[in-house]
Subunit: 369 residues, 2 copies
């Protein structure tokens, strides 16, 4: 019988696993709002469909869709992908979805963070705020309601006690202005059951999420990190990545290990075109992307599936070397590149639109007959 | 991988089981529309909550709710009941939900009938039309799309080849005007895998569904039927029930058995009060119930759960004898009466708002941890 606990995952022996640990499946949402996605979201729907299809080769995928888009989504998505009705304000399951935590006996529970649309950047967010709770309820899992405004994309766990995040995002006054850094760190430790939080200064240049870590760097496995990079000292991203590298070089993880850090050269720089900008609706309460604006493009924004890596491609010369690095870093997984510029135009990438559900002792996924 | 078959359940060896066969659980919807339910549906929500709670004592219950009512439903329903987002135009899961069929190896599939809101009685019905498909997809079951306008409440199967229905409903020109009786019977045989359809003339007096059989009579088990009854020859229901009894006495079932028919004396007659009528919204495209209108009250409109019977009560002198008859007919099940006048005011009763999901070899219900 699902319930909402008033204790914490830490107190109950639940921890956030690494994304590279086994999954029961992957959750996504369906893009539709015209002020986030150009041309009525049709190109984005194609990109999301390609991502869902790529992940579905490795593990079950469920896509949450509003009633109005249900049939369109069902008709476009591959048959193997499950479609469920799930209203949202936008389509970033990583950020408004639950963060799953597991215990040593295969139990899985969901952490439901407070959500304020990346610092009240888009209005409204009442549907997004309920996504995590609805997913956890649909699964019949128990839930924690964490008293912290946080998006899933702003943290990466190694599953062994270490968390990566950025000060730019988590200490931003648009999220939790009443909480100190120590208080925020305390809540992360309580709700994700980690012992050490590694604070990187800033996220990717021009990232509208206030610098989510999941666009900057992530764990390949405990002790091993991959970081977006540019060798061009004139690119503002250079200083950002160099600062992060410096922190990672002097830090150790919760188990006392030094980090092994790999780099992937970023694409571009890439910019929003005039045509792209013009085909996005403008609204008074939303930020409007302008033609010529630098896009926060990074290969780090990939999804780790069971036996696979689903990574962004930008039709850029750096695609090939980037996917090759991923292939070397994940020798036991098949790397699949998906052309994701249409997701990037909405403000994120493949990792931002996905959320892994850890395997636990999950009576597997009910929808795989 | 769920798919929509273009074959028929009969061709694939799937049959509609009797409601008395084992269930994986029960599906319901949440009432909210003000022109169906008085006082903004709050009294009906209490009644649905009581029904869901009663059934949840015996088997898992899932309630489908619109986004706007999700939190209200979650807060009112017992913790044991699962809430999922599922938009609908009204709340009659029996009629717009899937009819599940099973095969001998424990497989379960869903039949998705065409739905036209009981002969275009209420407008609109686009959301209701999609309920069956969404439920089947959520479960990951395969689906049949039946080329027949039909509501689940208009048929009762014994699971051994026999189907009960009414001519008043299935031959009504508001449903399938282009199909002959033989063609309709052929589709019932193909999609429910029965050999014999027993046609009763009419449903309960004043039943706005055009006389659904599930308010008139049902199977207790193969060969045994219980029928609503009145001994008052001046009551129009007397002739209706007597006609049905006559047919049942001369008919045999698919296995050649004669029917054993039990009777339950109806409550009342019951009528809509002035207060009740006034507290229902009126709309141009909906029928408006009038004060003094006879209500189609019947004890037959109960739900058979695993080990339980959840039956209507009307705070009527006939409640006690009716529940006693059910207790004798179902000696291995606990009979629970639920006060259901608020459901009756909306045009149906407990059976109409529920839909059993047969057990099959269902990896049980995923939401029961």
């Amino acid at each position: 019988m699902p319930k909402t606990h008033t204790t914490t995952p830490r107190a109950d022996g639940f921890r956030m696993p690494g994304e590279f640990e086994p999954h029961a499946g992957c959750w996504m949402l369906w893009p539709e709002r015209g002020d986030s996605w150009r041309l009525g979201a049709k190109p984005a729907q194609d990109a999301f469909t390609a991502v869902a299809g790529a992940i579905a080769r490795f593990e079950p995928v469920t896509v949450g869709v509003s009633h109005g888009q249900w049939e369109n989504a069902r008709n476009r998505l591959p048959e193997a992908v499950r479609v469920v009705e799930l209203s949202s304000d936008d389509a970033w399951m990583r950020d408004c979805g639950p963060t799953f935590v597991v215990d040593d006996r295969g139990g899985v529970r969901g952490v439901d963070w407070e959500f304020n649309a990346w610092g009240e950047l888009y209005f409204p967010w009442d549907k997004d705020e309920m996504v995590a709770r609805k997913v956890v309820e649909m699964l019949g899992f128990d839930r924690y309601r964490a008293p912290l405004v946080l998006e899933g994309g702003s943290v990466h766990a190694d599953g062994e006690g270490t968390l990566l995040t950025t000060e730019e995002c988590l200490l931003n006054p648009n999220r939790n202005p009443a909480l100190s850094k120590a208080e925020i760190e305390g809540l992360l430790k309580d709700y994700l059951n980690v012992e050490k939080v590694v604070w990187l200064p800033r996220g990717v240049h021009m990232d509208e999420t206030s610098g989510h870590v999941d666009n900057l760097c992530c764990f390949v496995r405990p002790g091993v990190i991959v970081l977006t990079w540019t060798d061009d000292p004139a690119d503002p991203q250079h200083e950002i990545s160099a600062e992060a590298l410096e922190v990672l070089k002097r830090e150790t993880d919760a188990r006392g290990r030094r980090f092994e850090v790999h780099r992937i050269i970023q694409p571009g720089p890439l910019y929003m075109t005039e045509d792209e900008s013009r085909s996005i609706e403008t609204r008074e309460n939303s930020i409007s992307p302008e033609a010529g604006e630098r896009l926060a493009a990074s290969y780090i924004n990939f999804y780790i599936a069971n036996g696979g890596i689903v990574a962004p491609r930008f039709d850029d010369p750096m695609d090939k070397p980037a996917l090759e690095v991923l292939g070397r870093l994940f020798p036991d997984r098949e790397v699949v590149g998906v052309s994701s510029r249409e997701i990037l135009l909405g403000g994120g990438n493949i990792h931002c639109i996905t959320q892994q559900q850890p395997l636990g002792n999950s009576k597997e996924t009910p929808w795989e007959a």
